[in-house]
């Protein structure tokens, strides 16, 4: 109910990162961040440890930490792992599991958000949809891994700028996929999901490809 200060600081910074208020490559000074979060430098360093371990921050020896800048290879990797996890989980999923409920709610939220017009809301709902898929497995470790991948991916989305219209087309696919799954055709839904992730990856690659042309930044891994 009341996590320690380091963890709360990590949560706060993570939120800043995935919402794009901290941009990839940006350096985080221990002094200024600790002041703005009102924690001591030591405590903040514990928070940094967590985020570095999650891959959202990179540590550069004697130069502190900076927001990770995902490369194309990272995005490909994230999607590969997501497919590896989500597809078989969905195929073996039970429509009666609470995760299915989460998927349903997420689809509704996405449909509502599309009317609202803010693509960030759509993206968030989309993420919840996929979290719901993973939840079907009922595995705490899988949930953790997937949550981490989501965070990294949302960080990548920061590179999208206003290309967010990106998501609109996927809302309906989510809805169709869900309908199929709830109807008992888990394998068909899983096949849909496989194509879905393939397409998503291709589109993201294309966008990042020409957005970051000539930007041979550091990798986010390690």
């Amino acid at each position: 109910m009341k996590p320690d200060r380091a963890e709360r600081s990590a949560d706060a910074i993570r939120e800043l990162i995935v919402t794009g208020r901290l941009t990839p490559g940006q350096r985080l000074s221990e002094q200024s961040v600790s002041e703005s979060l009102d924690v001591s430098r030591n405590t903040l360093r514990e928070a940094f440890r967590i985020l570095v371990h999650e891959g959202l921050l990179v540590r550069r020896p004697n130069a502190g930490v900076a927001v990770a800048t995902p490369t194309l290879a990272d995005i490909v990797d994230i999607y590969r792992v997501r497919r590896l996890i989500e597809v078989p989980v969905l195929a073996a999923g039970d429509p009666a599991h609470p995760g299915a409920r989460a998927m349903r709610d997420a689809v509704d939220a996405a449909l509502a958000a599309r009317l609202g017009g803010d693509w960030r809301d759509i993206a968030a709902a989309n993420m919840r949809f996929h979290s719901g898929i993973v939840a079907l497995a009922g595995s705490p470790r899988l949930d953790r891994v997937h949550a981490n991948l989501s965070a990294e991916l949302r960080l990548s989305f920061g590179l999208l700028g206003e290309n967010g219209a990106f998501f609109d087309g996927f809302v309906d696919r989510n809805a169709g996929l869900l309908r199929r799954f709830l109807a008992g055709d888990a394998d068909g839904a899983a096949a849909d999901l496989d194509r879905y992730l393939e397409d998503s990856e291709r589109m993201l690659q294309a966008i990042v490809d020409d957005a970051g042309a000539g930007d041979a930044a550091d990798t986010v891994s390690q």
Copy 2:
């Protein structure tokens, strides 16, 4: 080449945990550990953060950290994730990938270790074998996740005591699986692996089951 002190401390403690010199449930005092590792308390706390994040330590509010005590549910979960990852990776693996070389080396080491007689060596070689499988995917994230699972699993092995003979039977299965994979029958090898993991899980469950009877300890997850 020269990680910072917190990370090195984390490595040292992790080693103590997975080699069983620190037993599940054991509490780690900040003062004594910091003295024995010759680092300051603040630095040690950063190391603790890492290990808590990895699930090897649990933090209890105002009572510091203790070595996690995996429950049956944890072991089941670990194996479920391992199967989910390793089986499809092996099925899609390329025998020419460096990971295959690692698998080969691991099998050789396991065979040698069986002659040596120390089951810990066998266990270590076995782990390397499975790391090799995951390496076939060429995914840094998957490697990290799997390394983490391995560490948690080795922690569980601590509960095995001298039941380590456990592994002997699997050495030959590894060898057979590898032969099949190298011969080009990736699907057959993957099927072998699937059964292998199923059997391993069952055996581990049985052992932990009657070893820890009446020990309703905390879960390792969160």
